[in-house]
Amino acid sequence: MKKLFERNDLLIIIAVCVVTIILLIPRFVGEKGATAEISVDGKIIKEIELDKTDGMYQFTTETEPSVTITAEKGRICVSDADCKDKLCVKSGWLTSEGDMAVCLPAKVVVNIKGSSTKNAPDVITY
């Protein structure tokens, strides 16, 4: 009985499969570790890889009102803001993807992207 596939057929099929898998790998392997993004009026002024942060890192934005941001290993927060309600400070420590602290008057956004929170919704209505 004639075989459906010869040895060389199988080689090619395997080769195609291997190349396909290699090409698909980047789609399933996301960025690892949380990265905090700090933007002022839509422009990213700083990106901090929180997993690589050693000790405490702190800086103050040159905005009106000014906002002080503190990062430690695995987390970041707005530690002080030169405004009355301090809503962004009340957001507390940000640790996982989608966590966000916003200062509306200063147009400062601190948010975390790129960690692997599998069950988080794509977007939230509020």
Binding site: D9, A15, V16, T20, V102, K113, V123, I124, T125
Partner: protein, 339 residues
Amino acid sequence: MEKAHFFGASKKWLALILCGVIILGIIAADFFINREKSEKTYVAMGTVITSKIQGKGSAEAEEEIRTMINGMETACLSWRCEGSDVYRINEHNGTFESVSQDTAKWIADCVDVSEKSSGAFDITIGKVTKLWNFDGESSNVPSSKEIEKALQAVDYSKMLFNSTAVKIAKGQFIDLGAVGKGIACDSAREILENSGVKSATVSVGGSVLVFGKSATVGVICPDDDTKCVGTINLKDKCVSTSGDYERFFEKDGKKYHHILDPYTGYPVENNLRSVTVICDSGLLSDALSTACFVLGYKGSLGLLNNYDAEAIYIFDDNTIAVTDGVKSFKLTDNSYKMK
């Protein structure tokens, strides 16, 4: 019978190689097209905008959406921005004021919701909203006399408009704040459609557009803005939520939230915590979520039917009701129960 050789040209070989090339081509094209994506969060229109766009041209589309939102506020929507359409309509109350065709259309759509909701949604509520000043840093409960006076200016049926001009009655004041975010979602969709990107989610201060492919939308928990009570899968829809937790202040132990009843001039008091509306238009989902909150659960079901819209209601006893068309709602918070 012809035997297959590695470099031979048997049909079987040709077919196999062709298959391989086609598969690789599709995967490579898909990978390189979809690799392009843009995720941005920024402040505009006095709120937080988050856009996640995937596909070729995503960065350009994101930039265009941002420019559109900034321009829309200053040119059309904000009653605070001198020279905007809404500013001029208010300033020249009692006379017809020329506006952009977009503004005229948005106002016509708002008035349509006002008519179908018997005034539960009414953009002429501006004077009452200003009185309560929920956007300000300190808020006080206005006196009943002040509210009564401001209420006299609330009546959508006194507005006149055509496709290029709008007139409000003498002494009236319109505020499109309740629909501004939804309008931004609608305009974002137009940009995305023309840009040819594959998919996107855009949140304008919690009013959401899902474009191109299915996305999971979380409905926020009224008591904890870090949690969602549940999720829903949607594609090519707009979603808006009105809740008593968004903007409020407390005075003498009583909570006063920003969803005002156009009939009384006071914050709506019923058994609702929030209403989330899903429909094709952002302006409508915004307007309907406000109207449904004012009308209450049973009173608002007919209104939703008028617009082919669906809704998720969260009540103050931690129960949730959904309309018949909400098939994919998944409860994720155990402290809530479905009705």
